[in-house]
Symmetry: C2
Subunit: 233 residues, 2 copies
């Protein structure tokens, strides 16, 4: 087990992307110091450690910074090899996991963000349809990746579990604010059951924000965003 | 060496993203069949093999399709392990290579595409500044990754070489059409020398499009795009 002084994670309590690193570190039983950054006044350490994007999360291992949440998860898997693997060892399964994680970030997350923070009922409705359609694909992917086991990663939480699971609290808040169901018993029954299992996993349940707490935070963020960009009359 | 019947690449001759897979296959001395897709009338095989994005490139290994250019490169590296490694084996160097490849695709390529296909002189000028500024960062990354050796990957072409090098023909066409320099002796002298070395590499020189040929093709594409989206008067 690494000493906590050796591993530091710069993040925020609510960030799904920081959560990915935390879950990966928990899976590998790595002690680490969590630095809760104020994104309105970023620390010198953050600005120096991720001088290109100036964004969280950043994992600092010894004196080396690693940036970008999915790259951090791969790095954690590559460094702490004794515990369960996060990425599959089979090259094809590995490529499939990388594919779905990229899909979630590039195609699915923008729709979720649009529903949560966007404006205009018609635009939102289109995004809800898009997000649900994408989740049906992810449900199919779950069948192929899990091969009848509880997680995308099989018996253990793996790369796609982490990549997707980190969004669950945000999904719940988005559902609550918009009175909709994104993860739905009728269309994505396997993902509904998977989400329950994922949230109960010991590597996850201490780092997943409570829906109510995240909802309060998101409400303030949405009001601030609308004040800054009032709807066009 | 794999039989050509076992490995098939769906791409187009001009696609920088298909080129990534071709260079990786060449490095690994894998025989493969190249299928030049007509993107205006995509084959059933392409639509079936990449049913999510319906895009090239797709590597078909046996009967298994692998999609997304950087994931294909990782897959090739994972499957054909006897030849030079494409991704570094050290976890930190590996994370650094993944970081710069993602940076090029997410931050730098949209600027290049905007200069080549976009409209409006002021918007283009801003994109040129943005692209050159990004290349100065890539020049710095070259120093750190190559550690004084000829390529990002050290003595051999590696992951970042492939990720970046595939854009060189498109960079030359963009420079020619706009009478600008993106890779510049004054600002990015190491990248200028690297680009020459990269293009002369035996894994690359048969698959890099000729500037003139690509320019002709791009000119037709730009005219078509402008006809479809005439500038607002």
């Amino acid at each position: 087990m690494a000493e906590s002084s050796e591993v530091k994670l710069l993040g925020t309590w609510w960030s799904p992307f920081a959560m990915r690193s935390r879950i990966a570190l928990n899976i590998k039983h790595v002690n680490y110091a969590f630095v809760d950054e104020n994104l309105l006044s970023k620390s010198e350490l953050l600005l120096k450690s991720n001088s290109v994007h100036k964004k969280i999360p950043v994992l600092i291992h010894g004196d080396k910074p690693v940036c970008e949440s999915l790259i951090i998860v791969q790095y954690i898997d590559d460094v702490w090899t004794s515990d369960p693997s996060i990425l599959p060892s089979d090259p094809y399964d590995r490529a499939t996991a990388l594919f779905w994680a990229a899909y979630l970030d590039e195609k699915w997350f923008p729709a979720l963000k649009g529903i949560l923070f966007g404006q205009g009922e018609d635009a939102k409705k289109a995004l809800v349809d898009q997000a649900v359609e994408a989740l049906v694909l992810v449900e199919e992917a779950f069948g192929k990746c899990s091969k009848g086991k509880p997680f995308f990663g099989g018996d253990q939480i793996g790369y796609v579990d982490i990549a997707f699971g980190c969004f669950l609290a945000m999904i719940r808040v988005t559902e609550k604010f918009n009175d909709i169901k994104l993860l739905d018993q009728a269309k994505t029954p396997e993902l509904v059951k998977w989400a329950e299992r994922f949230c109960q996993h010991p590597a996850v349940n201490g780092v997943m924000p409570e829906t109510e707490e995240l909802a309060e935070y998101a409400e303030i963020a949405i009001v601030k965003m609308r004040d800054a960009n009032p709807p066009k009359s």
